[in-house]
Amino acid sequence: MKPRLAFFVGDPNGVGPELSARLLASPGLRDRAEVTVFGDERLLPETARAGHAFETVPGLEQGALTPGKANALAGEWVIQGLTRAARAAHQGRADAIVFAPLNKQAMKLGGLAFPDEQHLFADLLEARGYTVEFNVIDRLWTSRVTSHIPLKDVAGAITTGGIVDAVRVIHESLRRRGVAAPRIAVVALNPHAGEGGTMGREEIEVIGPAVERAKVEGMDARGPFPADTVFIAAKRGDFDAVVTMYHDQGQIAMKLMGFDRGVTVLGGLPVPICTCAHGTAYEIVGRNAANPVPLSNALDLALRMAAAKSVQ
C-alpha cells in the first residue's frame, strides 16, 4: 500500500509554492504516494495538482499575497494549513506530513500561540513527551540538547536526563527510519572534550553519565567526543546520529557538509513530519531560482519513514 502524505505548500509569499509546484508535478510521485495537497488553487498550477487530492485551505485573501514579504494574513493562513494537515494525520487519514518553508515572523504576526511549528504540531497531535528538531543530511541525523538560548546559559541548561531524552528520541526516530541499531555520537561541551577535566568538567559530571545511562537502556550511545572532529567521523560513516549540546556546535558543521541537501525532521511526534532545512528565501521569490533538492529530500525521507512505520 502506498503511504498517504499530507503536503502543505508553505508560506504563500516565499519560495514554498514554486518549489511545491515543481515537486508535486514530478514524474513518479503519484506512483510512490497518495498525496493530499493542502493549499490554494492560485498558488499551484494545474500540472502540480493533477493526480493528487486537493484540499483548499480557506481564508487566503488577496491582501495576504505580498510576494517576498512577511504578512500577518499569510501567517494566519499558514497556521490554518498546518492545522489541517496535522488533523488529517491525527484522524488517521495521513501517514506523514511534509511542508514547504514557513516564515516564523509571518506566523507570529498571524497569531501563532506557540514558539514555533514544532510546538504547534505537538499540541495538535497531542504529543506529550520530549519533542526536538533533527537536522538531516543524507544518512546523518543530528539534534541538539539546547537550542535558541545564550551560549553562557548552555552549561547550566544541559542535564544528564535531558541528554538521555535527546539520545532516546533520535534513537527511536532512526529506528522508524529503518535503522535497526542506530550508532549515536554524543558531543562534548568543552574543547578537546575537557581533556580529563582540565578544561571543564561537564564531560565528567553530566555528559559522560548520560552516555552510560543511554547504554544501560540498550542504546548504542558513545562519547563524549570533541566537537571539532566528531563530524569528520560521522561523515566517514562511523555514526548514524550526532547529539550536540548547543545550536552552533552542530549547525556550523552541518551547513558546511551539505546545506544544499539538508532536511529538517520534527522528532518526538506520532507521525513523521519533514521539511527542507532552508527558509522562505524572500529575496529570490518568483524567479524559480530556489534549489528544489532539499524539499524533494524531505519528501523522500517522510515517505521512507512512513513505509518503515507501516511495516512495524
Binding site: S147, H148, I149, P150, L151, K152, V154, A155, L189, N190, P191, H192, G194, M199, G200, R201, E202, P226, A227, D228, T229, F231, I232, K235, Y246, H247, D248, Q249, Q251, I252, A253, K255, L256, M257, F259
Partner: protein
C-alpha cells in the same frame, strides 16, 4: 642561499619523528621545503628502520649544511643523546632534550640561521618536572622572546584562516575571559600578520558572533551588543576593514569565505569545527605576533599510533610549506623596501 626551516623533535614518544621522516622521504611528491630537524640523529635513523622508511638521518655541524644535505639525507642538528625511547610511552627523562630542541630552534631563528621555527607536538604534562610550566609552546615562545603583548593563535588551511580569541579553557571560562580588548588585540595582530606574512595588502576580517543567530538583537545573549560590536567599532576606528558580528553557522560556507581573509572566532570549537570540517588533514597552527615565523601541525602527539608507521605527515608538510612562504614574504618585504 636561503636558511633552512628549523623543526623541533617534539615529544620523542609521539609521532614527531615519524612525520618528519615521511615529510623528508616524500619531499618530491609533497613539495616539502628544506628543513633541518633538531633531534638525536641515531634515534631518528633507528626509527626509520623500525617503521620501514628508506631514509637516513645524518648529523650536520651547522644549519648552513642543511640545504646541500637535504637532497640526500634528512639533516639533523644534534641536541644531545636521548635516553632510549619507547614509542607511545612518554617519559619525564626526555623532557630536558625536548626543551633543548625548542631553545635551540629559537636561538637559530633569532640569529637568522633558520628561516622559521616549526614545532612538533609536545605533551606539556611530561615537561612539568623539568620546570616547563607553560600551557604550551606559544606561551613559552612569548616568554623567551620577551613579548610585551600576548601572541595570537591562527589556524590555517588553504581554504580558511581562523583566529580563536579564547583558546584552551573550558567553555564557561572562555565566556568569562572574553573581552572587547581581547577581540581588538586579536584583530590587530591578525590584520598586521595578514599584511606582512600572508601577502594580503588590504586584509578583511570577519568577526563571528558568540550566540545563536548572533544573539538576535539581545534575545539570545548580549555579548554581541556589549562586547563584540564595540570591538569591531574600535578596530574600524584604527582603519581595519572588519565585518560582523556574523552568525557562526553561516560564516564558513564557500560563498561566505570569499568575503574575508581571516575569521576572528570567540571560542576554540567555533574556530576548529569549520577548519577541521573543511580540511581535516592540512590544518596548520600559526603563532602571530612573535618576532619570527612559527608554525606547527594541528594535531597532538598521537601516542596511540606512535611507532606504528601509520602517522599522516600532511599537517606537518603544510606547516613547513606555510612557514617557508611566510618567511619568504617577510624577507622579500624587507628587500623590497631596500630596492
Amino acid at each position: 642561499m636561503r636558511a633552512p626551516l628549523a623543526l623541533t623533535m617534539g615529544d620523542p614518544a609521539g609521532i614527531g619523528g615519524e612525520i618528519a621522516l615521511k615529510a623528508w622521504s616524500e619531499r618530491a611528491a609533497r613539495g616539502t621545503p628544506c628543513f633541518l630537524l633538531l633531534d638525536d640523529p641515531d634515534r631518528v635513523t633507528a626509527l626509520a628502520h623500525r617503521i620501514g622508511i628508506a631514509a637516513e638521518a645524518r648529523a650536520i655541524a651547522a644549519p648552513g649544511e642543511a640545504a646541500d644535505a637535504f637532497a640526500y639525507v634528512l639533516p639533523v642538528l644534534p641536541i644531545g643523546m636521548l635516553p632510549a625511547v619507547v614509542p607511545g610511552r612518554p617519559e619525564a627523562r626526555h623532557a630536558r632534550a625536548v626543551i633543548a630542541a625548542i631553545d635551540r630552534g629559537i636561538d637559530l631563528v633569532l640569529a637568522g640561521a633558520a628561516a622559521a621555527l616549526v614545532t612538533n607536538p609536545i605533551h606539556k604534562h611530561n615537561l612539568h618536572e623539568a620546570g616547563f610550566t607553560h600551557p604550551g609552546h606559544t606561551e613559552y615562545l612569548a616568554e623567551r622572546t620577551g613579548l610585551a603583548t600576548a601572541p595570537v593563535m591562527m589556524l590555517a588551511c588553504p581554504e580558511l584562516r581562523v583566529v580563536p580569541v579564547t583558546i584552551h579553557v573550558g567553555l564557561a571560562e572562555a565566556l568569562s575571559a572574553l573581552t572587547s580588548a581581547a577581540i581588538v588585540h586579536c584583530g590587530r595582530v591578525t590584520g598586521a600578520a595578514l599584511r606582512r606574512d600572508f601577502g594580503v595588502a588590504e586584509p578583511r576580517l570577519a568577526v563571528a558572533a558568540l550566540n545563536p543567530h548572533a544573539g538576535e538583537q539581545g534575545l539570545m545573549g548580549c555579548e554581541e551588543i556589549e562586547l563584540i560590536a564595540p570591538a569591531i567599532a574600535a578596530l574600524r576606528r584604527e582603519g581595519w576593514s572588519v565585518s560582523g558580528p556574523h552568525p557562526a553557522d553561516t560564516l564558513f560556507h564557500t560563498a561566505a569565505r570569499r568575503a574575508y581573509d581571516a575569521a576572528i572566532c570567540m571560542y576554540h570549537d567555533q574556530a576548529l569545527i569549520p577548519l577541521k570540517t573543511i580540511d581535516f588533514e592540512r590544518g596548520v597552527n600559526v603563532t602571530l605576533g612573535l618576532p619570527f615565523v612559527r608554525t606547527s601541525p594541528d594535531h597532538g602527539t598521537a601516542y596511540d599510533i606512535a611507532g606504528s608507521g601509520r602517522a599522516n605527515p600532511a599537517s606537518l608538510v603544510a606547516a613547513l610549506k606555510l612557514a617557508a612562504e611566510m618567511a619568504a614574504r617577510r624577507a622579500g618585504g624587507a628587500s623590497g623596501e631596500r630596492g
